[in-house]
Amino acid sequence: MTSFAELVLFLVVLSDFAVLAMSRLSACIRAIALQGLLLGVLPLVVHSTLSAHAVVLGVGTAAIKAVILPAFLRWAIREAAVRREVEPLIGYMASMLWGAAALVIAFAVAAVLPLHSVETDLLVPVALVTVMIGLIVLITRSKAITQVVGYLMMENGIYLFGLTQSQRVPFLVEIGVLLDVFVGVFIMGIVVFQINREFDSLSASRLTELHD
């Protein structure tokens, strides 16, 4: 792994924490867009040889995760006229501490996992921490749209883990997974838009009519 790839992975972790710390929705979306761009760069630099496969995957990922989905999410918050993530269920400081704990756990777990390749020694912990921070965002934020950002982060983490296997998972499959994530976020975005129209708020915590 080149030092450039390590730099990119370092930036991915920074963008994880940026989403965790930002209170403004537009800043969260900018951070997740930056992460999407970094994910698009990674297939090109993580392996020593450059293939057409890696180029198409990188461009496709960047187009969907750095351009189309962030633009779509921005449209959703503009229509909904919400700017601020006012009420996270746990405070920003506490979320940062949870994030730091996730980072420590990710590196500790990655250290004991038996790996086949030395190319990927930083990829696995970064993948794990991105999945965990995505989950933290998903669980602790009450706005539906921030939950979508959390889901996207989780998928980004899984994509990073998938990169360790990119020689073996066929190209068509990766494109299929990317498309599924795209459509999934798209449908979630539409539901978010409908929630806003029906409830005059994007808060998923107001969705409490159904229970036993």
């Binding site: 998938g162 998972v169 539901v191 998923a204």
Partner: protein, 480 residues
């Protein structure tokens, strides 16, 4: 060729149904379902087909679930066409397309022998049913579809991580075989790395378990089944959960082949008993018939993983139970759809005298009660008996005892609600003066499914027994 046609047919029909005029849409929906079923029956005549270099392949377990999906889909398609004449026709275009898209995705899941392809198919089923759940376009269905999307998407994301972990478990080169191809994973199971395989199993259990609705990952289920149109509930409880079960069964078969039985059995048995217990707790005192059926679905998913975890005769029972449960659940959801259509509510307290108002549906509801609770002579009795028999045979007598006790509680809970609905006196709010509201054409599909459920309880065709035994053998089981 046949396998590719099975996938392409509904996929193209989904696009066609979107473009076609209203008058043609019903014919496209039912016609596609019928042709799909004919093609599926042709795979029984020529088993063992392969396509796309082994990524798609026919095997006993996959073919059985595929047939189940196809039969349920034909029934639901016919019902949907008749139902739409009674209810508001909004979104008919998208509704038919999403249904056919679901059929295409479910066919990918059941014919796929490549784990990543299976995952793509399963995720697509999630996305295809989401607009169907939101059909009514009100607040409650909005809440239901949001919960469903978030919980299922996170669950299925875990399953994707599991797929990548499974790829990591495979050594590269000839010792590992083709990456993520089921047949090669089974053939080279001894070469799999045990740590990564266990991690893959855990993540897929959580992921596919969420899609199946195993407790405690079932929280989306009552809300979704409660708010979705009943025919969507039939599709989900009958077909979609069976597809998720297939995904779990695939990874379990690899674990057994790789001698990881001691690792996978306890969590499967634990999830199974917990699901049945939670279902029993929530079925007692439940006030809504559709939510009651959702908990009944949690119960039967629990029985399926219990059978998988027990092995032996239990595995045979689990595969048979998947078929019986799918047919019975689809049937009773369609009948409940008729009741909800006539009464305008799914709150059990407000539904009385179904037998008087809807003689056909009332009779079928009683049949459905006995079918889903596993009473003789229905198919579920045989499969539940096989699973309990498996528990005793594999030296887990206490598991058998607990399960029998819980099933008895569930029988009382479901029976009390449904019998009250069917034979109870008229509710105060009931303004119906008497006479029948039955729509005969809405009784056809559930009646045919009821005949199948009863038929499988009375007589199992030899071909089916052979396929069941073949499927059970890959899951560390055997025929009784």
């Amino acid at each position: 060729m046949l396998l590719i046609a099975l996938i392409l047919l509904p996929a193209l029909a989904a696009a066609l149904a979107y473009a076609a005029p209203d008058a043609a849409r019903a014919a496209i929906l039912v016609g596609t379902a019928a042709v799909h079923l004919v093609l599926v029956l042709m795979t029984w005549a020529a088993p063992g087909q392969q396509a796309l270099g082994g990524w798609l392949a026919d095997d006993d377990l996959g073919r059985m679930i595929l047939t189940l999906v196809s039969v349920i889909f034909l029934a639901v398609a016919h019902y949907a066409v008749c139902y739409r004449r009674e209810e508001n026709p909004r979104g008919g275009r998208a509704f038919a397309s999403c249904m056919l898209g679901f059929l295409a995705a479910a066919t990918v899941v059941t014919t796929s022998h490549h784990f990543a392809l299976l995952w793509i198919g399963l995720e697509t089923t999630t996305l295809a049913v989401a607009p169907l759940i939101y059909h009514r376009h009100d607040r409650r269905s909005l809440e239901a579809v949001w919960k469903y999307l978030v919980v299922s998407s996170v669950g299925i994301a875990f399953a994707l991580l599991g797929v990548f972990l499974l790829a990591t478990a495979q050594p590269s080169g000839a010792t590992g075989g083709r990456p993520l191809v089921l047949d090669d994973l089974l053939a080279h199971a001894g070469a799999l790395d045990a740590v990564w395989l266990r991690a893959a199993f855990v993540f897929m259990l959580i992921g596919f378990g969420t899609k199946m609705g195993l407790a405690p990952l079932h929280l989306w289920k009552p809300d979704t089944y409660g708010e979705a149109p009943s025919l969507v509930g039939a599709l989900m409880a009958g077909a979609l959960t069976s597809c998720a079960f297939l995904g779990l069964a695939r990874v379990v078969s690899i674990c057994y082949m790789a001698q990881q039985g001691a690792f996978v059995r306890p969590p499967l048995i634990g999830f199974g008993i917990l699901s049945i217990a939670i279902a029993a707790a929530f079925i007692l005192g439940q006030g809504d018939i559709k939510r009651l059926l959702a908990y009944s679905s949690v119960e039967h998913m629990g029985l399926l993983v219990l059978g998988l975890g027990l092995g032996g005769v239990g595995a045979y029972g689990a595969v048979l139970h998947a078929v019986n449960n799918g047919l019975a659940k689809a049937m009773i959801f369609l009948v409940v759809g008729n009741v909800v259509l006539a009464t305008g509510t799914s709150a059990a307290d407000e539904i009385r005298g179904v037998f008087r108002r809807l003689p056909g549906s009332g009779a079928l509801l009683v049949v459905g009660l006995f079918a889903v609770t596993g009473s003789p002579p229905f198919g579920m009795f045989i499969s539940e008996f096989a699973i309990i028999n498996g528990a005793v045979g594999e030296h887990h007598p206490w598991v058998a005892a607990i399960v029998v006790a819980l099933l008895a509680i569930i029988f009382v809970g479901i029976g009390a609600m449904i019998l009250e609905m069917v034979y109870g006196e008229r509710a105060p709010a009931d303004t119906n003066a008497g006479g029948s509201d039955e729509r005969t054409r809405l009784v056809v599909a559930p009646a045919l499914l009821a005949v199948l459920v009863l038929g499988l309880g009375v007589y199992l065709p030899t071909r089916l027994i052979g396929a069941l035994a073949g499927a059970a053998a890959t899951l560390g089981g055997r025929a009784p």
